[in-house]
């Protein structure tokens, strides 16, 4: 076995952004959230990820703004470090090791160790820590960070666990405990789920498992405490939050409705329904202008304080079960899998971004636990990407299985899939496999359990129903040219002809049921490879209908690269408990490449994604990565991939180039123009004294002539030019006429070599340079650089722009 050092397994995006509550910067422009091993900084207006704060080696468990400096933020991680970041520039300022790996939240406490975690937390955090070091009062703390809150100005800390609420006053160093009865009359649960404290008032709001919110007052006394109850939620209240002024209380839960209660006028409430998925956290920006909710489907919604959704940041949704396999959309090259309940998600692998969700079920989703919903269980694309087939099913306890097969056609006009045909109850039992015929002609065929083929045209109809000894078919696949169909029935592989629907031959390899089947591609198209449950990997030659070779290996997953002959097999090595990957060609039982210890735990799903541009690696070991890249999902739903070193280096370079160091919501144009404008403004302010003695503009200025004489179709849009142009004229006027003439001459000389646009740009830039030679050197170089940049922008293909701007 050969081990190749230069191919590595890397983690590739798609991590959770809803694990901890996000943080909004004090100016409400940026949003920080913990995402896997890094902290992501998003713009609240454009939803764009501005940069990642990388450095932690473990899962980030909390993010917090530094109270003394609102441009810095702390993050703490399971690797036992706390880091201080300048999040606008993405710079690590300092880091401190806490010593012990701990699951913690910056504001509060480590849940398991009761250790002080945030050593250099100023103010309240510090005090808390000190206090706790002294007395270690809060001994029984819930592991849920939502169940701990600081009271008004850090005077007290509230913690809830089970049926007990504990309030600890730092000054008095005294704690009060309040407990509720376990059950109400109706047998509902009173357990605390979350806690929030009023910023100005002595009031604590607690959320309960039965959907009630209690407002506790007067809790500094053991006996005379009071509470009032608010009830709207029908199930668990998962998050509570007061606005900074304390006028409103926000609550959310499984219903995915954000409820805004008026403080002291609790009968008045506002709702924001249908947010998509259960609310897990609610955060309010320090100025109270924005609310932000994170949802269980890996989504962060940014809401304006008038209860209107303004932006949605969506991550890769990983449901509990990945029932549809990983697929690649041939059109957008996006990875497709089932995401939100009843939706298919299209996820761009290159940009680590969720492109869109396709609503398959098209039904109102009822957010209620224990309700059986329609789930998308199977999906398949045609080779051209024109058709998509999806299967949704719903199983109720004692009712029949409800199945729907839907066929979607790609609509060029709306650039999305449009429902073409719905077939209800296409089969009586669960559909085990579904695939499209890959043939080039218009006839497309698809099949599934007991297996049925469907024909296309303006309408779809069942073409053929086949069965083999009343066995249940497990998997099916079409050959590359669509002339053969292989269906496995337990341990027998049957080969059919899709044109006449005849059973051509049966292949079998005793014993063990077939798990996966793949036809070879290109030069190996005469081979059919299958894996069995009894640790065999078999390859049949379809010309002789005989077994070509077989090896004994415990394959958990087998898949074929659509663009080359290669196949990849994921192996389970039992005694080592590791996954090994083999890449091989079906015509020889020798691996091209193998990689040990890919990850721990089983690999359930994998996919070959075609590359946007081919690699030209000629090394034998990495040649298989030239056409497509192998992505796989581990047991803990991490998306991993194989890359070579060279490729990684290239990617790093590319990403650095693209990083935009300004944190404002930005476009490349903004980058260029914004800076330029800033400069101009500086100059303007510098010239305020001069502006008094400004002479009126010469009407026949060369610059104006130039602009007017240039053919309109070569000019950039006027909105682009206007302000710069006008400003440049204003400044140039401060100088004597002779100098403007000089400029004019220069223009003339430049005319031949430069394009019109650049001329205008240079005109906009030059005059100030002429005006003040002393200061000019610095600005001139800058502006020249910018001219170059503009030139580059102009020459570039603007296609990349759209990719950057794409939302």
């Amino acid at each position: 076995m050969v081990e190749h050092g230069d191919i590595r397994v890397v983690h590739r995006g798609g991590s959770k952004i809803n694990s901890r509550e996000p943080v909004i910067s004090s100016d409400s422009r940026l949003l920080l959230c913990a995402s896997g091993e890094c902290v992501k900084v998003f713009s609240t207006s454009t939803e764009e990820c501005i940069h990642d704060l990388r450095g932690h080696t473990g899962l980030v468990t909390g993010v917090l703004l530094r109270p003394s400096n609102h441009l810095q933020a702390y993050s703490c991680s399971a690797d036992g470090t706390v880091r201080l970041w300048d999040f606008t520039d993405g710079i690590l300022i300092k880091w401190r090791s806490v010593g012990k790996a701990c699951v913690c939240v910056c504001t509060c406490v480590c849940a398991e160790l009761f250790q002080l975690v945030a050593v250099h937390l100023p103010q309240s955090g510090d005090r808390l820590v000190e206090a706790r070091e002294l007395s270690a009062v809060l001994s029984d703390v819930s592991s849920n960070p939502a169940a701990i809150a600081f009271g008004r100005g850090g005077e007290y800390i509230v913690s809830a666990k089970g049926l007990q609420l504990e309030v600890y006053f730092f000054k008095k160093q005294k704690s009060y405990r309040f407990s509720l009865k376990e059950n109400n009359k109706k047998g509902r649960k009173n357990t605390f789920t979350c806690v929030a404290s009023h910023p100005q008032d002595d009031c604590i709001a607690t959320g309960h498992e039965d959907g009630k919110i209690r407002l506790w007052r007067n809790f500094s006394h053991k006996k005379e405490y009071t509470y009032s109850t608010l009830h709207w939620h029908h199930s668990v209240v998962s998050s509570l939050c007061f606005t900074p002024e304390g006028t409103n209380l926000l609550s959310g839960g499984v219903e995915s409705v954000l409820v805004q209660w008026r403080y002291n006028q609790e009968s008045q409430k506002d709702f924001l329904p249908r947010l998509g998925a259960a609310i897990t956290h609610i955060v309010v920006s320090p100025d109270g202008a924005l609310f932000c909710t994170s949802h269980s489907d890996n989504k962060i919604t940014i809401i304006q304080s008038c209860v209107k959704v303004s932006a949605i940041i969506q991550g890769l949704v990983k449901g509990e079960s990945l029932s549809t396999d990983l697929m690649v959309d041939p059109r957008s090259k996006a990875m497709v899998l089932n995401g939100k309940p009843g939706h298919l998600q299209f996820y761009s692998l290159q940009r680590d971004k969720l492109l869109f969700n396709l609503d398959i079920v098209q039904q109102e989703y009822i957010h209620q636990s224990g309700l059986q919903q329609f789930e998308v269980v199977k999906a398949a694309f045609t080779a051209s990407g024109n058709w998509l087939a999806s299967v949704e099913e719903r199983k109720q306890k004692d009712a029949e299985l409800e199945l729907n097969l839907k066929l979607w056609m790609f609509d060029e006009q709306s650039q999305s899939f449009v429902l073409n045909t719905t077939i209800s109850a296409p089969h009586e039992a669960r559909i085990t496999a579904m695939c499209f015929c890959q043939s080039t002609d218009s006839q497309t065929t698809m099949l599934a359990l007991t297996f049925m083929a469907v024909d296309d045209g303006p309408s779809w109809s069942c073409d053929f129903v086949g069965a083999y000894h009343s066995l249940v078919p497990e998997c099916c696949t079409f050959s590359a040219d669509g002339s053969l169909l292989a269906v496995s029935f337990q341990e027998v592989v049957t080969v059919w002809s899709p044109s006449s629907w005849e059973l051509l031959t049966t292949l079998s390899q005793p014993p063990g049921a077939i798990r996966d089947l793949c036809f070879g591609k290109l030069s190996c198209s005469k081979y059919l490879v299958g894996t069995t449950a009894n640790n065999l990997l078999c390859c049949w030659n379809l010309l002789t209908c005989a077994l070509e070779w077989s090896t004994s290996m415990n394959t958990s997953l087998l898949l074929a690269d659509p663009l080359s002959e290669n196949m990849a097999a994921f192996l389970n090595v039992h005694n080592v408990d590791q996954i090994v990957v083999f890449v091989f060609k079906p015509n020889e039982p020798r691996p091209l490449y193998s990689h040990k210890a890919v990850c721990s735990g089983n690999v359930t799903r994998a996919v070959f994604a075609p590359r946007e541009e081919m690699l030209d690696s000629c090394e034998e070991s990495s040649q298989w990565l030239n056409h497509s890249q192998l992505y796989f999902l581990t047991q803990c739903m991490d998306l991993m991939t194989f890359t070579t070193k060279a490729e990684e280096a290239r990617q790093m370079a590319a990403s650095k180039q693209l990083v935009i160091d300004d944190s404002i919501a930005m476009t490349p144009f903004h980058l260029l123009l914004g800076k330029h404008r800033g400069q101009q403004q500086q100059q303007e302010s510098g010239q305020d004294s001069l502006s008094a003695e400004r002479t009126p503009l010469p009407q026949g200025s060369a610059a104006i002539k130039e602009l007017l004489q240039t053919p309109a179709h070569i000019l950039p849009s006027t909105s682009f030019l206007c302000s710069m142009f006008v400003q440049s004229l204003l400044i140039s006027v401060t100088d004597s006429r002779s100098e403007t003439k000089h400029v004019e001459e220069e223009m003339e000389s430049e005319k031949e070599e430069d394009s019109e646009e650049e001329e205008i740009e240079s005109r906009a830039v030059r005059p100030p340079e002429m005006a003040r030679c002393g200061q000019a050197t610095e600005t001139a170089t800058l502006t020249k650089a910018q001219v170059k940049e503009l030139r580059r922008v102009k020459k570039l293909d603007h296609g990349w722009l759209s990719s950057v701007l794409d939302l």
Binding site: L272, P273, R274, L275, G276, V309, D359, Q362, Q363, E364, I366, Q368, G370, L371, Q372, Q373, F374, R394, A399, E400, S424, E491, V492, L503, L504, T505, T506, L507, S508, Q509, P510, C545, A546
Partner: protein
């Protein structure tokens, strides 16, 4: 915030004939015009020249109708007995007709009296026609002979005596004659008395109708039979080709006219008539279909002109309030205009409004309103299904008074046995019985409805059982009739089994 997704009303496919290009074409005729003739209409023939009058032979008369008039333009009544087979010459000037009294008469279309009389046959002449060079007439008679006449001097040129039965258009055996030879060139056996013959314009194919069969013969391959169509269940009496030659029409005593595709010889359309059809003709360009029947009725169907057909396919009539809603909708903002976008208000159906507010009982009530319940039961069923999906169907069904319950039961009785709705309504019916079993016996109305439901259920079960029995019988029939095919297997699989 996503908007509310309204309840999906399942669209059930309409059973019945598929709409194809052919059905659209052949249905595009106006309502038929019926004209009563004196006797059975035995022949209809269109004039080959404009304005395409047609001659209708019925009883002792031949009427000539114009393309649009419903009154005869002209009639030839000088027959002593029943007239047969009035046919136009290719220039539309002359008309020939046979008669029961064995005389063949030739008429000028504008005249009244016969121009020539051809005497020679000894029995009734049922078949007359002009030859393609239009100078001769071919006649067939009950005296087993077939004669060729010269038009100008009314002499008999040739007589073919080979037939052994009445010539009514042919017989069991029909023969092909060449005018230059006095013997048959080709003899084809149809098997049944031949009622009608039709030669393709290309003269390569011949269609014959006789008995229940329509047969197509390839004349170029020495009369090899090409296809035999058996789509009628009574004798086929007449044949006709559509103007472009791509469709073949056949009329039969079973009161149907069938349209065949002449490439695949499949029936693409079917017309029904009130009585047995004896004759059939298509106007040039398929402008009208004329059918003569045994009860003496002539049925005329004219093609709709372009505007008329458009009228039907266009949208249905709009209500007067439509104008209010559409006002300003087609105004496009100019370039400088500042567009203030207004949030589009989602329009929801009544039941959806209630469902949105989680008012489950009210949602069911609105879905059970008389109009919806009777006219669009699929909406009611969809709402019940939606409630079931939400797990709140029980709540919606419970707590109803006698009137509400009887309305529900009434709906169930009407729709429970519809196979499209059964899966949903059975669960609902079970729930209703669970909920209201304690109050059974308190209201006579509800009790009566429950009894009715039970009765219908029993009937349905019996019916299903019978169907299953039939299915079993059919399965055995099919299984025995299909040839067994050996599936090739590799040695391995044989060993396993």
């Amino acid at each position: 915030m996503a908007s509310y997704k309204p309840t999906k009303i399942t669209v059930y496919p309409k059973l019945g004939e598929k709409v194809t290009q052919d059905t659209v074409y052949w249905k595009n005729y106006k309502a038929p015009i019926q004209i009563k003739e004196f006797g059975a209409v035995t022949n209809i023939n269109f004039s080959p020249v404009a304005p395409h009058n047609f001659a209708v032979t019925a009883f002792t008369r031949i009427h000539i109708y114009g393309p649009f008039s419903h009154e005869p333009v002209k009639s030839f009544t000088r027959f002593k007995d029943t007239a047969y087979c009035g046919r136009f010459r290719s220039d539309g000037q002359l008309l020939v007709a046979g008669c029961e009294d064995s005389v063949v008469r030739l008429f000028d279309v504008n005249g009244k009296v016969a121009l020539r009389m051809y005497k020679g046959h000894t029995k009734a002449v049922h078949v007359t026609d002009f030859t393609s060079d239009s100078y001769q007439i071919l006649t067939g008679s009950d005296d087993y002979s077939c004669r060729l006449w010269d038009i100008p001097n009314a002499t008999e040129l040739n007589a073919y005596q080979e037939h052994t039965d009445y010539i009514r258009c042919g017989q069991h055996l029909f023969s092909m004659f060449d005018g230059r030879v006095d013997k048959s060139v080709m003899t084809l056996d149809h098997g049944q008395p031949v009622e009608s013959l039709l030669l393709y314009p290309s003269e390569g194919l011949l269609v014959s109708a006789g008995g229940r069969f329509v047969k197509v013969w390839d004349l170029l391959k020495k009369g090899q039979p090409l296809v035999s169509l058996k789509n009628h269940h009574k004798t086929v009496t007449c044949l006709c080709l559509s103007s472009n030659g791509e469709r073949l029409l056949s009329g039969s005593l079973d009161r149907h006219v069938k349209v065949y595709n002449t490439t695949s010889y499949k029936v693409v359309h079917n017309f029904d008539y009130a009585a047995s059809i004896l004759s059939l003709a298509l106007a040039p360009n398929d402008e009208s279909i004329v059918v003569g029947m045994t009860n003496g009725i002539l049925n005329l169907k004219h093609r709709k002109n372009a505007e008329e057909s458009k009228e039907i396919s266009g949208q249905q009539r709009r209500r007067p309030s439509y104008r209010v809603f559409v006002k300003g909708k087609n105004y496009f903002p100019k370039q400088d205009d500042y567009l203030v976008s207004k949030p589009v208000k989602q329009h929801l159906a009544k039941y959806d409004k209630q469902l949105k507010k989680f008012n489950v009982s009210k949602a069911l009530d609105t879905a059970l309103e008389a109009w919806t319940r009777l006219k669009k039961p699929e909406i009611t069923v969809a709402v019940i299904k939606e409630l079931d999906r939400r797990g709140t169907l029980k709540n919606a069904l419970a707590g109803r008074d006698e009137q509400g319950l009887s309305r529900l039961l009434y709906f169930l009785i009407g729709n429970l046995f519809d196979p499209r709705f059964a899966p949903v309504l059975v669960t609902a019916a079970e729930m209703i019985l669970d909920i209201y079993q304690s109050v059974i016996g308190q209201s006579s109305v509800v009790d009566r409805q429950l009894l009715r439901l039970q009765e219908m259920l029993e009937r349905e079960i019996d019916y299903q059982q019978e169907l299953l029995e039939v299915l079993g019988m059919l399965d055995t029939v099919f299984a025995s009739s299909l040839p067994r095919k050996e599936v090739p297997c590799s040695m391995f699989s044989l060993m396993i089994r």
